[in-house]
Amino acid sequence: MDYLLIQMLNGVQLGLLMFLLAAGLTLTFGIMDLVNLAHGSLYMMGAYFAWTLIGWTGSFVLGALLALPATFLLGVVVEVVVARRLYARDHLAQVLATFGLILFFNELVRAVWGPEGKSIAVPAFLDHTVQILPGASYPAYRFALIVVGAAVALLLAWLVARTKLGMLIRAGASNRRMIGALGINIELLFTLVFGLGAVFAGLAGLMAAPIASVKIGMGDDILIVAFVIIVIGGIGSIKGAFVAAMIVGQIDIVGRAFLPDMLKTFMDPASASGAAPAISQVLIYVVMAAVLVWRPTGLFGQRS
């Protein structure tokens, strides 16, 4: 029972981390109709900024707090220089241009920070484990991840449901032309939304850094998973991204923690431990394909 609970907690934590990354992606996608492959690069840049700033300030919290505006500024620059020229273009041009940005950022990082990875230590006040049940403990830093992820989810829910920005986002996701008719400064709105998306990506990157490592191309690996999440959830829907991230988090944990034993009930152990990772590796793609076959615009996507 404890075991099951902790594994589910692992799934929640992983899902929330993915949600941080997916939230920014679905925002820019939903409101500006931009397929931004370089979102993973912003995730990476957030982590590298944090590494440098934590080194300067000597404090994890301070460094992390400074890295967020830095990533925001970078997002604004990317928006002004490249992204805004892509909104009116087809998805093909967007894929191509942002694919180019990935190459650029990866090699830029190598030129500036060098090829070897960087490490961000868990801040001292979170560097211990917490007893959550008798005999079962959980790393404190992972609790912090859950708290931050949940806080961002709540913040976004409030933003989307209760603010003018949220209204525009909702309007944009369902009918892009309507925003133009509302007589607001669209250029500024788009720049802000892109910057906000960059902040979420950067936050995900720097929060993941202490458990993962800060390295070139770190965003490319999980970008595809983030895309899978927003597609399952329905593009532009924050609620969809959240639900899908939770589903993907749990699927991932189930595939790794329980599938080998489940397979062993009807297969011999050797082939079960061989088949389990192969199945869990493709599980999210199967789920995505199944969702799209069932609902071609995702769980919460707008019908065209």
């Binding site: 594994q7 981390l17 090829p115 990875g117 490490s119 403990s137 202490p210």
Partner: protein, 396 residues
């Protein structure tokens, strides 16, 4: 527009031809060595360590082999087998190198083998990758290794665990060919009980919480892992964060080394690994290599670097023995086969499949007097070990 760009294309083509045309003249005087490794992307740190060691080797040789200048041409495989194959093809067909060395990854080596060793009839030296196929049925007279066969290092670890009396073990590794080889390797020799075996997604998995939770509930006497490069950093960090460093010791191969230790830091202290070379092996050539490397680059060299240094020295031994006359491939092969050079790991012999027959040591992650993380030798796990696939190789 068309006319102009076409004119430019002709100029470019002429310039390229000119540049290519100049090369054969140089080739006659110099020993040309192509070196394939990963110089871009997330694994570029390994390639950099190898290049530094190659440059140090050239420096130690005074820039010459048998009086001829050494010319090294580095090519980036981008961590992709097809790119590695293309670059190897370029080295053989265009640069017409005398030797091709390097290769971190098994799949890059396998993709390039035919191009270099068969169709290119060029001597090939792996400074790291050691897939079982090339040790066994695909062994090749033009292929030499200055590293090991994949299974050997974990087999040495298994032997050590037997000696130490570790009763049961939990295995974790990435779900790709080398990962499966490594876990299979430890199972070949380890006699205790395997209480769990997990394969994780490769290369995209960044979170090991599910596996660590399982390990925490099983409470084994030890964990055995194989996670090269950045993945080793991630696993070791998360193992320590989960508090398992206080309860379950970690035994590893290729996961904690000079490249990853600066990032793993104190978390890796006390962990044990197996390796055929350690920076404190007490032979004069190794002392000189490690000292000069640290002086020049302000960091410890890794086994990737040591194996690359050995690859250059092996080539030098053959070129020197032939007094720089590289016209006969048979003679070069015969000289290479003697392994008549001062290896950083101490002398070794090649087996029938041109893989080294060598010792494996157990190393512990420690802090040096300056506070820098490194590894030191604590035991010899096996001596003069031969790989388990040599019998499948038809060469005698």
């Amino acid at each position: 527009m068309t006319g102009r760009s076409f004119g430019r294309a002709i100029i470019a083509a002429a310039a390229a031809t000119l540049a290519l045309g100049l090369q054969p003249a140089l080739a006659q005087q110099s020993v040309k060595i192509g070196f394939i490794s990963t110089f871009s992307g997330p694994q570029a740190a390994i390639g950099e360590d190898m290049r530094r060691s190659v440059e140090l080797a050239v420096e130690h040789l005074g820039g010459k082999m048998a009086g001829k200048p050494i010319q090294i041409i580095y090519e980036d495989d981008q961590f992709k087998p097809d790119v590695g194959k293309q670059r190897s093809e370029k080295l053989v067909e265009q640069d017409k190198v005398n030797f091709v060395a390097g290769y971190i990854w098994s799949n890059v080596l396998l993709a390039s083998l035919k191009t270099v060793a068969d169709e290119g009839d060029t001597i090939m030296i792996s400074a790291n990758a050691g897939p079982s196929q090339i040790a066994g049925e695909l062994c090749n007279k033009n292929f030499f290794s200055t590293s090991w066969q994949n299974d050997q290092t974990p087999m040495a670890m298994g032997e050590y665990l037997n000696q130490k009396g570790v009763k049961n073990l939990y295995l974790v590794g990435p779900n790709y060919a080398a990962g499966k080889d490594m876990l299979a390797g430890v199972k070949r020799t380890y006699k205790g009980k395997i209480v769990g075996e997990d394969y994780t997604k490769w290369p995209s998995q960044l979170d090991f919480s599910a596996e660590l939770t399982k390990i925490g509930s099983v409470k084994p006497d030890g964990i055995f892992i194989f996670y090269p490069g950045a993945h080793g950093v991630q696993f070791v960090k998360q193992w320590a964060q989960a508090g398992l460093n206080k309860t379950v010791p970690l035994y590893q191969v290729f996961s904690i080394d000079a490249i990853t230790l600066p990032q793993q830091g104190d978390l890796a202290l006390g962990t044990l690994g197996a390796q055929e070379w350690v920076n404190d092996l007490p032979n004069p050539q190794n002392k000189r290599y490690v000292e000069d490397f640290k002086k020049k680059y302000h960091t410890y060299p890794s086994y990737y670097g040591a194996q690359s240094y050995d690859a250059i020295m092996l080539i030098a031994s053959a070129v020197e023995a032939l007094k720089g006359d590289l016209s006969s491939k048979d003679k070069i092969r015969a000289e290479m086969k003697k392994a008549n050079f001062k290896s950083l790991r101490g002398d070794f012999k090649f087996g029938n499949n041109n893989f080294p027959i060598e010792n494996f040591y157990i190393q512990e992650a420690v802090k040096d007097p300056q506070g820098m993380m490194t590894v030191k030798t604590i035991a010899t796990a096996v001596t003069a070990a031969k790989d388990p696939f040599a019998d499948k190789c038809p060469m005698k």
